[in-house]
């Protein structure tokens, strides 16, 4: 039986009284690349923000590495948060710190390693994402694609078992986007890290994802889940088939 790294149970989420998502159930297994797909405004980022503990759901639960992030508060919740990494749309690097300092920050806080060891680890993480030699750069001095890669390096600083990505390809040109997909695949293959990616980028689906779920704005829930290739041919939902066939066509072209 495959080990479950993250699980969402009967999640109902929204803002104020407005329900965005309901009856959301899925599991993410160790070592897989799991994608959350859907059109704009279907609640992909909302789901991610509830999964990483930034928002409390209206009901339901999110289990990360066997612990409920919904029903835990304070230090316990921060402990769960430390067990995963998150990369944000724009990288979310701390602008007042260099790339090395950005990556060193969680290591300084949680490891107690000496400074030179922390710097070495930070350099290695930058190498891992193809940014060796950029450690002294400030976030404002690098491109958007590089900022996203630096964000991945920072998210991987503590070697988490699970990495969340919020729209990793958003705002990137097709070549940078393809390189980022390649990087995500390489990282998974090298480190075995489980990846959960929220995206609406069609290009990434077939080249990166092991399994996907598709969210729908109208039904506020999951309308399909499974392997992309299977869903492309076998999904009973015409929207899902069309969504994935456009991605497949684009890939073939």
């Amino acid at each position: 039986m495959r080990e479950i790294v993250a699980e969402v149970k009967n999640l109902k989420a929204g803002y104020g009284n407005r329900v965005i998502l309901e009856n959301i159930n899925f599991q993410v297994f160790k070592g897989e690349i799991f994608m959350i797909l859907g059109g704009s405004g279907c609640g992909k980022s909302t789901l991610l923000k509830h999964m990483i503990g930034l928002y409390k759901p209206m009901s339901g639960d999110v289990i990360i590495n066997g612990k409920s992030i919904v029903n835990t508060d304070g230090a316990g919740k921060r402990e769960i948060m430390r067990s995963f990494g998150v990369t944000y749309q724009g990288g979310a690097l701390f602008k007042s710190l260099t790339l090395t300092e950005n990556i060193s920050l969680p290591l300084e806080e949680y490891t107690g390693y000496p400074k030179d060891v922390i710097e070495k680890i930070a350099e290695r993480k930058l190498e891992l994402v193809g940014l060796d030699g950029f450690g002294d750069y400030m976030p404002s001095e690098i491109s958007g694609g590089m900022a996203k890669r630096a964000g991945i390096a920072r998210a991987m600083a503590l070697d988490p078992e699970l990495l969340f990505f919020d729209e990793p390809s958003a705002g990137l040109d097709p070549i940078s986007s393809a390189k980022l997909d390649e990087l995500i695949l390489n990282l998974r293959n090298k480190t075995g890290t489980t990846m959960l990616i929220v995206t609406h980028e069609l290009d990434s689906i077939f080249s990166v994802a092991d399994r996907v779920i598709v969210l729908d704005r109208e039904s506020k829930g999951i309308i399909a889940s499974g392997k992309p290739a299977e869903l492309l041919h076998e999904s009973p939902n015409p929207f899902v088939r069309e969504f994935l066939s456009r991605s497949d066509m684009k890939r073939k072209v």
Partner: protein
């Protein structure tokens, strides 16, 4: 006409509710800040001293010229207005204690705090608001950090250290401003003015002014940061947060001033 009453009642109700919610938020944030401060006292090595020095420079040394200029002008204006009135009643000699006590006890700390609110308070709100827009606060939280420890404590330490120093400098130049007017307008020699200032301004007044200044520093840093955390992530959010930081801080400074004036006058009388 009768339709106006329910609307007015609704408006008053909504405004009162908003005010109470705001008070509750300020209390909750103060509590969080207190916890972060305790953590900082227990683990001083974990305080981000480099950032603290940066904010000391930003709120302190960068603010020296404008603060001194405004305090000097304040002393000049107070001296001028005082000189006109005092001269009418033959009380020229009391101009020095009037200017000295007013500046040291009230106007110095108040003016410096208002300048700091405009410079640092709004800047704190804008900085944290921008970090919120660029998801840096979210990143901090998902890394398991407590944002207030990282973002508020260095600003708070910097402000509490720097504002009383600025106030002391402002007090000195304010008194010099009054001294100039007294010399030019009333012909009071500098030495006599100096001696009268020493006679009229008691050391306790300095303690009172500097204590007020430290309290204002706490208000400016905490409200600036709090409004930054509350900033909406839309286009106008950061601007609104900065404006709100300035307005709320000045209001709370006025309230704190009234309370502290009452407390200190009670202590002084006893």
């Amino acid at each position: 006409m009768t339709h106006g009453y329910p609307k007015f009642t609704e408006f008053v109700g909504a405004a009162t509710w908003k005010f109470l919610c705001d008070c509750a938020d300020i209390l909750a944030f103060t509590g969080e800040l207190f916890a972060a401060a305790c953590e900082a006292v227990r683990h001083p090595k974990k305080i981000r001293w480099r950032e603290t020095l940066y904010y000391m420079d930003m709120c302190g040394s960068d603010a020296v010229p404008i603060t001194l200029m405004i305090c000097f002008l304040m002393g000049l204006i107070l001296g001028f207005q005082g000189a006109v009135q005092m001269h009418k009643y033959g009380g020229d000699v009391y101009l020095a204690p009037l200017v000295g006590a007013s500046i040291v006890k009230e106007l110095g700390p108040l003016m410096v705090a208002i300048i700091a609110t405009g410079r640092a308070g709004s800047s704190f709100a804008a900085e944290i608001g921008t970090m919120k827009v660029s998801e840096e606060i979210d990143a901090m939280m998902t890394m398991g950090f407590v944002p207030s420890r990282f973002l508020v404590i260095p600003k708070m330490i910097a402000m509490i250290l720097v504002l009383p120093m600025l106030t002391a400098m402002g007090d000195a130049v304010g008194i010099i401003g009054g001294m100039l007017v007294a010399n030019i307008k009333l012909g009071i020699p500098f030495e006599a003015y100096y001696n009268m200032t020493l006679w009229g301004v008691k050391p306790f007044y300095f303690f009172e002014g500097l204590t007020k200044s430290a309290v204002y520093a706490f208000i400016i840093a905490s409200i600036g940061c709090m409004r930054g955390f509350e900033a909406r992530t839309d286009a106008m959010g950061v601007g609104r947060a900065a404006t709100s930081a300035v307005v709320t801080s000045i209001f709370l400074i006025a309230v704190a001033d009234a309370l502290l004036a009452f407390i200190f006058s009670s202590i002084n009388e006893s």
